[in-house]
Symmetry: C2
Subunit: 502 residues, 2 copies
């Protein structure tokens, strides 16, 4: 109860603190306490809380609580409806993956990291040659700092680098291409396929970073005048010493895609922290599994005939219904992977930089979203693609486009390959971000809070309401068109023919 409330009434029928104050003041004011009936309830000019001329802007924190509640209740209602319609769809034993898929997955899981060790071997040879070159220079007492010598050294370094880069390129390409081929042709189950493909992409990015970082480190090693440009952090492990198996294995398991000879580290492992994060991870995985099996799967299934008849209003309605559940799964998945899993891994590896994501949920421009939601990839793109491009004189806008295109290709790889449908929706979705970025760039400059809220709304609409469920629907439909019962049920559907014609 507010202050002015207390002063405006002789006694409150229900608020006890007010009652006390008011009762006191009544006794003070009137010798006959029965005079309550004449108390001046309306004693001053006051405005309604929701009026524009209200003294203070009203707080709406209660409506936030109400929204949470309405969301819970309305989704709980949908859960009851779903249960009455379909019964319990969750079933632990009726998995639909083949034994061969699991074996192929395990095989890839063991094979893919070999790529990192090959990269290590290449770097080992390169470091050996660099050490020999430095020893030779030292022996001959040559002075590298004359311009002529410098140019010559640079030329020699470059030709060596091209050779090393070629080796790394072949190694990385073979690794990724092989894993992708196995996933596309030999792993039927899209879940297992996604995990394998994700693993292959991560290892591929790690090998690239390992090669590129060591290239610069070697350059600094061969040209000592540049060595002060290196971060102070690396001083505890200078160049040729960092090329060792222990250092590589740490990078292999560290929750980052960016190679550094030295990382900030914590002093010890808090095992309770690790256990809590693992428990979160398992719990959320179960929640996601239940949500997809019980809610998303029937929804996707009964959306199929709507898509196959290209009924636009119905597709909209389905996409909207799907948006809640896909958003829920996405948020759970994000938390499980970026908060719980990566933090657990970082704790075990005593990796101290835990900034795996920013507060992307508050972003007011889609540009910022893409740089905050997935920091490991953002860091990689910044360090190894964007910055070098800009440093070489590439216009910033073009560099951004290039980063986005690469990101689009990776998205398509991660979604299209495991679902055996490289239909380009994920790539197109990424490309669709570019006009949205330009739009929210303009909108967020609008004055005050409105621009920010509008930008944030556009972000949520584009990403979680339209983007996620639409993409899920399309890939699920493409999957069903290729393998599922739909291709038998809807032989003559116009939409199916669209997909077939591709």
């Amino acid at each position: 109860m507010s202050e002015d409330d207390a002063s405006s009434s002789p006694a409150s029928p229900s608020d006890s603190t007010t009652t006390k104050q008011a009762a006191n003041s009544t006794t003070r004011r009137t010798p006959d306490t029965k005079y309550a009936h004449v108390y001046a309830t309306h004693s001053s000019k006051r405005n309604s809380r929701l009026s524009q001329d209200a003294e203070v802007a009203p707080s709406f924190v209660g409506f936030r609580n109400l929204m949470v509640l309405v969301l819970i209740v309305s989704n709980f209602r949908l859960m009851i409806e779903n249960f009455r319609k379909y019964g319990v769809l969750i079933c632990i034993q009726c998995h639909d993956y083949r034994r061969q898929d699991l074996l192929n997955g395990l095989y890839l899981y063991c094979l893919v990291p070999l790529q990192l060790f090959v990269a290590y071997l290449i770097e080992y040879v390169a470091a050996d040659r660099a050490k020999a070159a430095v020893a030779r220079m030292k022996r001959s007492g040559e002075d590298l700092n004359t311009p002529e010598k410098q140019r010559q050294a640079l030329r020699s370094f470059r030709s060596t680098w091209y050779l090393i880069a070629l080796c790394h390129g072949i190694n990385a390409t073979i690794g990724l291409a092989y894993a992708t081929t196995v996933v596309y042709y030999d792993i039927y189950h899209p879940g297992i396929g996604t995990i394998c493909e994700l693993h292959a992409v991560i290892v591929w990015l790690k090998s690239c970073s390992y090669a590129l970082t060591n290239r610069d480190l070697r350059h600094a090693y061969l040209h000592p005048s540049y060595a002060q440009a290196l971060p102070d952090l690396y001083k505890s492990c200078p160049y040729p010493r960092n090329i060792n198996l222990k250092n590589l294995c740490y990078f292999w398991w560290a929750p980052t895609l960016v190679y550094q000879p030295v990382y900030p580290r914590t002093s010890h492992i808090r095992w309770t922290f690790v256990l809590k994060r693992i428990a979160e991870c398992i719990g959320l995985s179960i929640v996601i599994w239940i949500a997809s099996a019980q809610y998303a799967a029937p929804l996707l299934r009964n959306s199929l005939d709507k898509i196959s008849t290209l009924d636009l209003v119905s597709i909209c309605e389905r996409v909207m219904k799907l948006s809640t559940i896909s958003l829920f799964c996405w948020l759970c998945g994000f938390f499980a992977l970026f908060q719980s899993f990566l933090n657990a891994l970082a704790e075990i590896m005593t990796f101290a930089d835990r900034e795996f994501y920013g507060d992307w949920w508050n972003v007011s421009s889609i540009r910022t979203y893409w740089t905050t939601w997935n920091k490991p990839v953002t860091n990689f793109m910044r360090r190894h693609i964007y910055s070098p491009l800009v440093a070489r004189g590439c216009p910033k806008g073009l560099a951004q486009m290039i980063v986005f295109c690469i990101s689009g290709v990776l998205h398509e790889l991660l979604v299209g390959i495991p679902t055996h449908n490289v239909i380009g929706v994920a790539f197109a979705g990424m490309m669709f971000q570019i006009p949205l970025i330009l739009l929210t760039d303009v909108i967020q400059t609008f004055k005050g809070i409105r621009g920010k809220v509008a930008g944030n709304m556009i972000f949520w609409i584009s990403f979680c309401i339209v983007g996620q469920p639409l993409a899920a629907l399309l890939y699920f439909f493409a999957w069903q068109a290729k393998y599922g019962s739909v291709s038998r049920q809807f032989q003559e559907s116009p939409a199916l023919n669209l997909f077939r014609r591709r």
Copy 2:
């Protein structure tokens, strides 16, 4: 993008301000700008934003926006679903009220205020007698301040007051009873009935306040030693002068239930303000009408068989589905009545105290809700029931119970009479508030913000999710059981027999 973000990367692939800063620092640090690959991305110990050991508590303002969006989208989806199921149910010409109902309503609308004028006549006679008594006292030069005389005067005042109170009581009771009888027996349409009953209750409360306030004013007039206990505001219109028709008519139309000889007033009427409020009022009424006709009515109708078979899970599901639409209608109705209508009326009457409601949506105890959502009634209850009871030595808890019981009776009157079913659900709903008040009193004392949020959640659940739709369902069902097609359709329903047995 946050500050630390900018400092952690050589260049951002997308955020332009960061890019500039970072590009500068890259040039400063490294003579060879191609050294971007060795930049120490992970340079310090940092925690994840959502970790408990995060440096700053994360902001979740984006999730608030998301909630708004999800609410809009999910309800828009339900609107599409509803439209596909039922088509357009809104129809301007197919009203279902009888001509006789309208005539009876108009008749009551003209007749009911007569009660106020009768109360005026009673007060006029009383004031006349009081003036005569004071003149007599002055003529005889009697000193009222001796204890013996005072006691005698008090006795005489009391016996007169009992007579006046009897007259007022008969007047008010006849007025309310007559209106209630007409509504119950002669007005079939529940909408018209509710408006008539509401009008009758408002006028009844106004007459009570008029009688009680003038009683105290007269007492002060007859006992000048008490007169300084009167509020200063009333000095511009002392007791017998306020008993005039103009003053009464102002009170008749003023947006308050509490009589004061003088109210705080504004200097002029802002007609644009009035027009805006009236436009809001009309617009919201149309919105409520559409919402009830298109969404609430089919929902209520297809809930009937669920209730009639007493299927509890289905009733829960229906109540939850109904909760959103009833909450929406309630909020619109609240705004239309308490913000738009009362503000428009207050502006026309140059009534300056516009505090018709507090920020009840933020309350953390149900106790506070009941004292903030409807200030006119709260003010009446405080001034004319609670305070006098407490002043006469009634324990506060008991006084609160009495206020709640009276409030419950009024609620039942306003809901049960127009629906021709005094089934006691509204009264029981009010009585159910008492344990909830005790519960939230305890909960809101829990430390920190959690207690407040929990209290607010309990308030929303009890009131808007369970209370409103359940009451609407039960009264609608009782109505259908008495008049509707249900009584023909479900002759043998167990629930119907429950209602019939009453």
